[in-house]
Symmetry: C2
Subunit: 154 residues, 2 copies
DNA sequence: CTTGACCTTCCCATCATTGGAACCCTTATT
DNA sequence: AATAAGGGTTCCAATGATGGGAAGGTCAAG
């Protein structure tokens, strides 16, 4: 199986397969005499595992941890569970953050006529608000997004 | 007002102020003879506007659109409202996506003992699932994250 | 007149992913 | 056998928003 077939079989693009190899997430596969990468069924399983965890929003580093645990027959299921639930926490934090933004925006938009006239409370608030309704956070400047790695490209 | 004071007054870091200038989001300010940037109260208002929209998760490009509308006295409030509600839609789509990930993960974690033994249905599912529960999406390969620009760093 | 805190520009790193150029290999058709 | 199409290979660059840091200039207080 060459890289194109592996990509089709796993749903991970050839580009990303090479990238995962480069950063050490997967082992360099065998090569043909011409230098083509050759993937086994086992490799495809790994790629499928990676795609699934990635679809769940795990950062590549965490995927590496999960791969290690997968191959560690003496793992403690508690370790896996902790990674999973930590990620659930992160997802929920992110959701709350987005929820807060959406609530504020909906609130602002509520009083906007949305017609041809220039009067617009949304712009007014953005321009003059001492603090936007959403800004009830305690820390002085807890930048909107404190989370990374929820995967950007698709 | 030099860049440090402007940063303190607006909550936008000096680094970002220079960056916003570089990408054309804000106009190059006046300079002292020594080359220091000098900001007016008006400039600070703009930076505050930017910070607020940024805190609401708008991409820099949209912030540019909003700045233009802000300064356009003949704007239609409908234009502002559309940008706002489009963004609410995007936020909600993103939230649903994260919700789906979290639901799947919680479901997987539910049946995991989370003790010292290696048996782990989370790993099992990730390794062997034909399709994970969350993968009930219609399109053949709608990569997890179809949204960008929800601001990564803080 | 020195010290320290600021400013300037420039480059680099992040994270996951895509795009493209330049070049080599394989396969199928003429 | 020659050729064209469609892969593979490597390397480099860009994305978006941000932080980090180096090298060097400037300003204000001591």
């Amino acid at each position: 199986m060459n890289i194109g077939e592996a990509a089709a079989a796993s749903g991970v693009s050839a580009k990303m397969i090479r990238y995962y190899e480069q950063i050490g997430l997967i082992k360099p596969p065998a090569r043909t005499e011409a230098g083509y990468r050759v993937y086994s069924d086992n490799d495809i399983s790994t790629l499928l595992f990676i795609r699934r965890t990635r679809d769940l929003g795990f950062a590549v580093e965490k995927i590496g941890d999960l791969l290690t645990l997968w191959h560690d027959r003496s793992r403690a299921s508690a370790d896996v569970k902790r990674i999973a639930l930590d990620h659930v926490d992160a997802l929920e934090r992110k959701m709350r953050e987005l929820q807060s933004m959406a609530d504020t925006l909906r609130h602002l938009a509520q009083n906007c006529h949305g017609d041809g006239r220039p009067d617009c409370p949304i712009i007014e608030e953005l321009a003059h608000a001492e603090a936007l309704p959403s800004c009830h956070a305690p820390a002085p400047r807890p930048r909107a997004d404190s989370l990374q790695n929820f995967r950007k490209h698709g």
